[in-house]
Symmetry: C2
Subunit: 420 residues, 2 copies
């Protein structure tokens, strides 16, 4: 496009920008927060335990009291339905899978991945692989605990496995963060080949662990969801089941602040996790476990429930993708994903423009996830990735915000091009 | 007593023992677990959040969703009523104060007690002071995390402060475990002088911390409860507020498995704890916080509620102490405490007899806390202390069990005396 045309286009977009500014938006699209209508879907659960009799679990055990540090049989059965994992490999925790991940890394730092192995913190400056763009809170755990992060590029099939296989030759590489289904933020589901290559990994470090954050395991937007190969089944074949921790939660099934989280692993890892947990706490909240298990008492009920979530989420995802298609398609200044599930849409803009887009949106009153957050240390080497979280705002406001976003993308990119 | 009389007494007690054996007891007195009647006192709380509107907190905030990692204003107000601490110094956590204590030690190991100080794990083999007899789970945290434990004798006024003041001259001494009110297991409340000496401690280590586990802060058995001097008020005077973490929970106010815990500290410590917690989790369960705050909405209501607990617990404590008085008083083979609150009675038997008593009780089908558990590494140097947990069994069964206990104490001690 000739320079004059670009300048005209920029002026035109700036007028649009001023219009949005006058309209005075006030929206938060920074985090993957379910909308209020989604929370109402589980409201019935709140009244499910009322009487003393309601609070009794298997064998008449009083769930108001102490005991069962690794969780109730009912909650294990629920997560077995969700994940397909055997109940004896499931450890039920508190309300937050992030907390379980933080604790798992922290305990491995202090105590090692098993009883007879040297703690990570005593092995020098250890490293984690961080497929990126990825989840900022994973990276924050590493940064907090002083673990060096190595960026691994993402591909449409998941992390670049050549890079992963190469990196794990370093014995100081102790872990990798994965969101294998509907990845945060791209919504990519790892291919069968990727999962198999993970299960077949031969890291130099015996105490290398895959942090398989299956946050969106049943979070399909459409009847036909993506299929994720079962990594534990693959690990059975390769004999490397101890290499994987899977994390799941009901945060985006029931209530983000009051759900149930679990960690699933091999029998050896599970026994070890239980032994540490027994020192850390007497038990987690079994009443909330029972509330969930009574409400989600079959796989069918869970799937039906997730379809109700999907019905509320689909229009929001489609509003974003439709606007991108209409405004940005063919311009060469943006690429995006159209996920079949999860909580995010990833938008790549012209190199060097993401921070500017973030800041322009801030001027309009729309809070996006900070540019750079999807990379280790908050540094996107190409300054191009933006994570769009469409789930929280009502669809109408969201549509306005995305129109504004397209304007900001155009302004930032045209300015950049004009500057050369 | 002449040898012949002792032998006759022993034979007589062994007959009693056989009678109990034939009766076939099956009781657990090993842990401080509230009885079922106590749990029923809070049952109404279970139905307190039902509708969507019920789940909204201050400023109409939706407590089903993410946010407020350090807790809700309502829960902070509740713990302010319980503790007298200012709300801004209170951080609300999950359901278990033990978990908060474990995490506090673990985070100090990994990250240090504040931003600019060396992590405990990088300072060599650090040490904790363990007033004993004490709480076995405190000691288990140290043992798990490889912290050396130093036994500090208990006195009727609390820990032997001469020994504490002497021990903290070692810069590797980084902490001390305290249950300052109705201590576990002796039920001792630290004297005013003891609390003042704690507040005036000048440890060699800047990063020395007092772990003030105020588990029984409102857990009086009688209308006139013991008074515990406010350590934070004393620390204000000495300028050493950063030296203290206070831990509290509703585990023995509402539900042991489904309560709310909190940590209270100085403004600087609180800010640091919040900053670490924000990396560890997005939030704790705010719905359970709201449930508690709605049910316990004033200090009066909490005190009234604790009087109901006391009415259920007093007969149990008195059944134990009455039996001890009747059977063991004046024998010279046992000493015990008669606490005004808390969850335990401490029984000291003739030196070298506690393990034998534990094992004899096991033969009768009564599970006591293992002998030795009240000391670091499970090693009671005089093998004499037994922790009696009278709260869980119904009063009738408890009375039988204590009669059996007195018989076992006599058998063990007479045997020991006869053996010389």
């Amino acid at each position: 496009m000739p320079r004059g045309e670009l300048e005209a286009l920029l002026a035109c977009q700036k007028e649009e920008f001023e219009k949005f500014k006058r309209a005075g938006l006030n929206l938060d699209m920074s985090r993957g927060i379910p909308g209020r209508g989604q929370l109402d879907l589980s409201q019935e659960m709140m009244g499910i335990l009322t009487t003393t009799a309601d609070c009794m679990g298997a064998d008449g055990k009083d769930y108001r009291s102490y005991g069962m540090p690794d969780g109730t049989p009912e909650a294990k059965a629920m997560f077995a339905e969700i994940t397909g994992a055997p109940e004896q490999n499931i450890v039920i925790c508190g309300n937050s899978s992030l907390n379980v991940m933080f604790d798992t890394v922290a305990h491995n730092m202090l105590l090692g991945v098993s009883k007879d192995i040297c703690p990570w913190s005593k092995q020098g400056k250890i490293k984690f692989l961080c497929p990126s763009p990825g989840y900022d809170r994973h990276f924050a755990i590493c940064e907090t605990l002083g673990i060096e992060m190595i960026t691994i590029p993402m591909t449409p099939d998941g992390p670049d496995m050549d890079a992963v296989e190469d990196a794990v030759r370093d014995p100081l590489v102790k872990g990798i963060w994965c969101v294998p289904k509907y990845s945060n933020p791209e919504g990519i589901t790892y291919s069968d080949a990727t999962v198999r290559r993970f299960a077949a990994l031969c890291p130099a470090a015996d105490d290398f662990r895959i942090f398989w954050d299956n946050a969106y395991i049943v979070h399909d937007l459409y009847d036909e969801g993506d299929d994720l190969t079962d990594i534990f089944a693959e690990c059975e074949k390769t004999g490397r089941s101890d290499m994987v921790y899977m994390f799941v939660s009901t945060s985006k099934i029931s209530f983000p602040g009051a759900g149930i989280a679990a960690v699933i692993s091999s029998p050896a890892n599970t026994a070890y996790i239980k032994s540490v947990m027994a020192m850390q706490t007497i038990c987690h909240d079994k009443l909330n476990q029972l509330r969930h298990a009574k409400f989600f008492d079959s796989r069918e009920k869970i799937i039906l429930h997730m379809k109700k979530h999907a019905a509320l989420l689909r229009p929001k995802f489609e509003a974003v993708c439709d606007a991108f298609e209409r405004e940005l398609s063919g311009t060469g200044i943006a690429e995006w994903t159209a996920p079949h599930g999860g909580y995010f849409i990833s938008l790549d803009v012209y190199d060097g423009c993401a921070k500017r887009v973030f800041s322009l949106m801030g001027e309009l009153g729309v809070k996006l996830t900070p540019a750079g957050a999807t990379f280790p240390y908050g540094r996107d080497p190409r300054d191009r990735n933006l994570r769009i979280a469409p789930t929280y705002p009502p669809t109408g406001e969201l549509a306005t915000a995305v129109d504004a976003l397209c304007v900001c993308v155009k302004i930032a990119c045209i300015e950049k091009i004009l500057l050369g």
